[in-house]
């Protein structure tokens, strides 16, 4: 007998018929002898409907008082879907009880609409599980120390599920979603892309932040921090498929290296074409220059991704960074009006037609020459590298966006990602 947490997204909960199928799937796990906690999202479209009503009435300016009320309103979507799922389970003959976040209690800070979970009191849930019940807990929400309802932000139900799994020391947290796992890269770009049977949470973090939209990034951080075995799998398989098969499907996100069965050096190729590159040429190289350039950018609430500063010549250096393409024009203006005068830069050069391509792999820690192999592959394809950054398990390059597909496909093939992995 294992304690398992299931999480179902809004599409899976989208209608009474679909909720009934979720109940049948959960009942199958119960009949196989497991204890189950289920964290559902709101029925698809419901959160947007509720926030749409609120928007029609909202004042012009957003205040903490307004955000608090938005959370009161938006949190009801999960309360309804949780109650419905408990009823559907009861109809399947499975004893079940649903709880809102405040009832269990999922304690958060007071950052309305983007709260962070601080603790979960699992006692009540453990009591119900011991009594043979399936416990349904609303995703997406919690309660602050003042008893105000909070929500965790879009996609927060993933984090709720992982946090609940951590608090209960669950054996595994299964995230049922509309994709069947994590792929070596986007199959729309590389038809040979393979589903990974497992990936380390560190790799998953790098993949997620680079654009793989499978899981809310915070849930992966949580899983890593609290060592929760996390599996992403499809909610579109028939509910009555063999449970042994279902339990091995999707992609397992592991926190222990030795648990990882695939020993490929590189696990996946991520890419992002939402960025733009900006370079300040010939800035005076003196202490504090990075802050002098990026301080005003940060103050304008513009996120900076890649940052490069190379060694200087004759007391002057070139300073480059990337921002989201939507912030490109605003950043260029800001630099020209505020930063150039302060830094003595000779020119500001911007380019929105770039992309970032990354290889991600925990094996890079122990294998030398992986980055240079990447550069060599791109060179063979005649692709010029404009910027390079590296971390322990990731190497990213900025290149002309027109080469993106070519680069991703060439790297995918060069690192054998189209081949089934060799068992360790």
């Amino acid at each position: 007998m294992a304690l398992i947490v299931h999480k179902y997204g809004g599409t899976s909960m989208g209608s009474p018929e679909r909720i009934r199928n979720v109940a049948k799937r959960v009942a199958k796990w119960v009949r196989a002898g497991h204890q189950l906690v289920v964290v559902p999202s709101a029925m698809s479209g419901e959160t947007n409907r509720l926030l749409g009503l609120a928007k029609e009435l909202s004042p012009a300016t957003s205040t903490p008082e307004l955000l608090r009320e938005l959370d009161m309103i938006a949190s009801t979507g999960e309360q309804v879907s949780s109650g419905l799922l408990a009823i559907a389970l009861q109809a399947e003959g499975v004893p079940s009880v649903s709880y809102a976040g405040w009832q269990v209690a999922i304690a958060t800070d007071s950052s309305f609409t983007k709260a962070r979970i601080e603790s979960i009191d699992g006692e009540r849930v453990r009591g119900d599980l011991a009594a043979g019940k399936v416990v349904v807990i609303t995703g997406f929400q919690g309660v602050d120390s003042q008893g105000h309802i909070t929500t965790l932000g879009r996609g927060g139900s993933d984090t709720s599920a992982v946090a609940v799994a951590a608090a209960l020391h669950a054996d595994e947290c299964l995230i049922y979603t509309d994709v069947d796992g994590v792929y070596t890269t986007d199959p729309r770009i590389v038809p040979d892309a393979r589903r990974l049977t497992s990936i380390s949470f560190e790799e998953m973090l790098e993949m997620a932040s680079l654009g793989s939209k499978v899981l809310q990034i915070r849930s992966v951080e949580f899983a890593g921090k609290y060592r929760v075995r996390l599996r992403v799998l499809s909610s579109f398989t028939p509910w009555d498929i063999d449970i042994t098969e279902e339990a091995k499907s999707g992609t397992l996100i592991t926190f222990e290296e030795d648990e990882k069965m695939e020993q490929a050096v590189v696990s996946g190729i991520a890419f992002n074409r939402d960025e733009a590159k900006i370079s300040l040429m010939g800035v005076t190289d003196k202490p504090g220059i990075a802050h002098l350039i990026l301080g005003p950018v940060a103050e304008a609430n513009i996120d900076v991704d890649v940052i490069i500063q190379n060694v200087s010549h004759d007391g002057r250096t070139d300073f480059s960074f990337t921002v989201h393409r939507n912030d490109f024009a605003r950043t260029m203006d800001l630099l020209k009006t505020q930063v150039v005068p302060a830094t003595g830069a000779t020119a500001v050069i911007g380019d929105a037609k770039i992309c970032k391509v990354s290889i991600v792999g925990i094996g890079m820690r122990s294998h030398v020459g992986v980055a240079s192999r990447m550069f060599s592959v791109l060179s063979q394809e005649g692709i010029n590298i404009q910027m390079i950054t590296t971390s322990e398990i990731k190497t990213s390059v900025v290149i002309d966006e027109k080469y993106m597909e070519l680069a991703v496909r060439a790297l995918h093939k060069a690192f054998d990602l189209d081949q089934p992995p060799v068992a360790a």
Copy 2:
């Protein structure tokens, strides 16, 4: 400065536009210097929508576990409307905060879907009021001692509003609804029916239980018990009508006799044509006979209204009572199969074509001859009286249903209810 509780029904909260009008009305009261607590119902149609979803998934049998989930689901309707109203108030420049029942805390027993309020902790609300905020509290719901969400049953928001007013010692509780007050009788039957400017809560109880659907009966009991000044008034007046005029509109339900300005002996004529009459003829008159007859009826969950037993002749008596027309056939069967053999009754006679007409008035306490005046009026109209029951402030007769309109009109005129009252 007064502390006022407003309650708005589902129709008044039916759309963002209507919620905005409620906010404007509340803001008008705030600007006149009052402290406001507002208790809204769910947006019209929402509770039915939610329970409809639940019904699609519900198991065949109703259990406490199922009812608990129905309350989880149904309670969200008021949480949404309360949050929306708080936002609309903020947009009007009025600081506001909304609370679900559990947050304030409206403590109830654990009778899911028909819970009763046990206490309200007004401390949090008083703090917010003192800080200049309008406090919006969800109607219809509370929380039991185990932290489960409960609901109070249909129309429960009236009771919530009165209970909140009682807990806060509010100066008045205004129930905004789709009628503009309590009438001397149904204007569809008597076009001359007048709106009462005030009515005692005891009269209101008798009127309500006899079919006036203005207020949930329990809210009136609550108002009487805790001496809450309660006013029923229209939510369809323009929000910007003069506040002095609005404060005097509708019908005030008073708990102090000397507060009642109208000194009419009879305040209203109530009627009910949903009943059927059943008589057991010639039952042996011995101790326990009433229980012998009505025990099996009660066990079958059939509500009995009027009960008449006259003096006996030769050790035998006739025993009559009324039930809801829907229960008529079932009751007749029950009597014939179970009760007649046990009581030695010579016959069972049923009649579903009857109605009950009542005069209600607190003045009946101190005026003699009111009942006999009623009988005289009916006699003059040639209406035969089949049954009579009286209480301290009400006299009811059962008559042939075809005379109902005639009886109501004749009584309405005979007791001068079509005339403006004489000031005390």
